[in-house]
Symmetry: C2
Subunit: 411 residues, 2 copies
């Protein structure tokens, strides 16, 4: 069963609104085994919508449209469907009363134009909207292809997808779609590809994709099958084959995020960490504090882009700065050790770097991330020459991953 999502509204085409609705619907349909093959955005324009519907009717079995059901003149969706399905509009008293009480409950007088929302096409089934005024609609064509028409307001759309559309479609779907996302950091997609090596072999029974994100490359293993059991079995087999080759780069799966993994390890192992950040301006600290009670594991954090001040506070000797250079692994490691010792923490993390381009600056882009514990010091060097936002995110991600790797080893 192939689906197309049609998102209606000029705001999507001019970039005033990012299409989060389609992603929501795509995820929900995938969960119940319906393959979304196309997402189309089209403006508030009768002819454009009409021809987009005609294309969708040819290629998809189920079409889910959102948007353009509001009460104002720019909402054309219902009108276009009335023409497309040669319908007549009739007033639905039940819906009219619902709209009236919707306004009454909120202590607001109902504007006259909202009455029109109670007019529904005679050949459509009404999809209840219990959280807004625009009813949804379900049309069937002569081949029993389904056209769902829903409001574009995200809260209303989501409620109706969950409570009305998914239960209807679930009974029709004969397939199962499962996917697993393996999240990596510190390695590029082409290197991962080469390390996994036997992709062609795996693609005989699953589909594999590589998706580079700021936080690292995600590997998606996708299995579609008519038996749920086989679907899961294939996915898990492919997962284990891939992990055999690259498990050391994988820090999490599916919806997991790296700071939760690190914080949970810190709490579980009763460990504390102290942090000193220069160029990254608190990007690591910010993620480590996305958790209640962060004072139980984060001893202390110093954020300062003035390396002289920081090294004075930490007691890094000026001679060392001259000897090794401020932006060096030696200094980063010293700072990680010192922030750890000063705060009697189990781990110290230091981030140092030069992200300000100046002429003939050999250091530009160099970023050092050091993690120190009672047993070992590790330091990773990155070259980051992008915008501050990217550099911060990438640095925090690598720092969290270094900390995670040490946490897995240390008792």
């Amino acid at each position: 069963m192939l689906a197309e999502i049609i998102s209606i509204g000029d705001e999507l085409l001019i970039g005033q609104t990012i299409n989060t609705n389609a992603a929501y619907i795509g995820a929900k349909l995938t969960e119940i085994g319906i393959e979304v093959n196309w997402i189309t955005s089209v403006g508030d324009d009768r002819n454009a919508l009409f021809s987009v519907l005609a294309i969708a009717e040819k290629r998809a079995d189920v079409i889910i449209c959102t948007g353009g059901l509001g009460p104002t003149h720019d909402d054309l969706t219902k009108d276009v469907f009335v023409t497309y399905f040669k319908a007549k509009l009739i007033c639905n008293e039940k819906i009219l009363n619902k709209i009236k009480s919707f306004f009454f409950d909120r202590g607001v007088e109902m504007p006259n134009i909202n009455e029109e929302q109670a007019l529904v096409p005679d050949n459509a089934t009404v999809i209840e909207n219990n959280v807004g005024t625009a009813p949804g609609l379900l049309f069937l064509n002569q081949d029993n292809k389904m056209f769902f028409v829903l409001p574009g307001v995200p809260f209303e759309m989501k409620t109706m997808i969950d409570n009305e559309v998914v239960p209807i479609l679930k009974t029709k779907s004969k397939k199962f779609i499962k996917y697993k996302i393996l999240k990596t950091t510190g390695i590029g997609e082409s290197s991962l590809f080469e390390k996994i090596d036997n992709i062609q072999e795996l693609e005989k029974f699953v589909k594999i994709a590589f998706l580079p994100k700021i936080t690292g490359v995600e590997i998606r293993i996708n299995s579609i099958n008519e038996s749920e059991e086989l679907c899961l079995k294939n996915m898990l087999l492919a997962e284990s084959k891939i992990l055999e080759k690259i498990s050391q780069y994988v820090w999490g799966k599916d919806d997991e995020n790296l700071e939760d993994i690190v914080v949970n390890l810190l709490i579980k192992k009763h460990k504390t960490v102290a942090v000193v950040e220069s160029c990254s301006g608190g990007a690591l600290t910010d993620r480590l504090t996305n958790h209640l009670n962060s004072n139980s594991y984060l001893s202390h954090s110093i954020i300062s882009n003035n390396l002289n001040t920081t090294s004075t506070i930490l007691g890094v000797l000026p001679e060392s700065l001259i000897q090794f250079g401020a932006i060096s692994a030696e200094i980063a490691v010293q700072m990680a050790q010192k922030i750890k010792d000063m705060n009697f923490s189990d781990f110290g993390v230091a981030i140092n770097g030069n992200w300000t381009p100046t002429q003939n600056d050999e250091d530009f882009g160099v970023t050092l991330i050091a993690v120190s514990d009672h047993d070992k010091n590790v330091c990773e060097k990155l070259i980051l020459k992008r915008d501050i936002n990217f550099n911060k995110q990438r640095t925090a991600q690598v720092a969290l991953d270094l900390l995670r790797r040490r946490l897995l080893i240390i008792d």
Copy 2:
């Protein structure tokens, strides 16, 4: 000149990734007078992409594709274009050297599969990618319709759109598109529509749309014309006609956000504000502190869902709580006055409400927002029965708007 954006990748269809790329491109093309009429997302599938291209070629003059240019096996876009435009792949030495130095600069060894990215179709123009390894491509069909092919990594796509694609398209575009967004809060879209009243008159020379968002309804005035002057003139005329009718609901325009407007008014007028929040859990304080030096205008903020504690701290008499009820305008106003006086602030804001559904609870959903200053107390009552996230956002928005209105009046 009509454009279609084609976003390629299964991650978009299954909801793993929200399509921010298309919104970015849509905004950029609109700025230079190119109308985006369709956005299509399609998976990593040769046949699906091929037929989507054929549809786009019929209806659009310029087609911008992103995604699927990476080095791994699931990146099929270049292959599909080679077939579509009957091209041959040839190695481009300049690109090969660029890819090699891209890895060298980062101190990483180049995996072999990246070499394939230097193979480019013989009938396409290369669009330089100075921030990644995948070159972009520009194909022309026999009618001189343009097909741009760009990587899907947002940073690479954005850089290439800004530096390569926009300069090419700007010279071809003969139209101007201007739009203005008027941002309102505290009134529904149908009421706004009725108050503006003469929409049909205005739509003779501009296009007007209503877009409900959590932060309030946005009115978009859109003007498309062959003369930039006329385009601007029409837009400004419509704006002034609309503002005549509903200016009291408009708190900002275009990219403005309400907290910036309020904070700038506080700073400009040298005023301070103190806040007490119960149900809204800091949603107002959070937005008031999205600004450096918030201690210069935010005197103090108490966030507590325990009304007894808060009223004790503020000195609200237990008798008053019994007399008026905890969730009442009288108590909200008293709290706003007391938090203001306690902190010697110019304004006090109090938010009180009951968002926890219990049986036979008449108060459920009632939310009171009071603003107090030396001259006047104002209080607004909302009925909010949605999820906590929505309720918080809506409450903070109304509170900021109440504060804004008083700030405009007070010297």
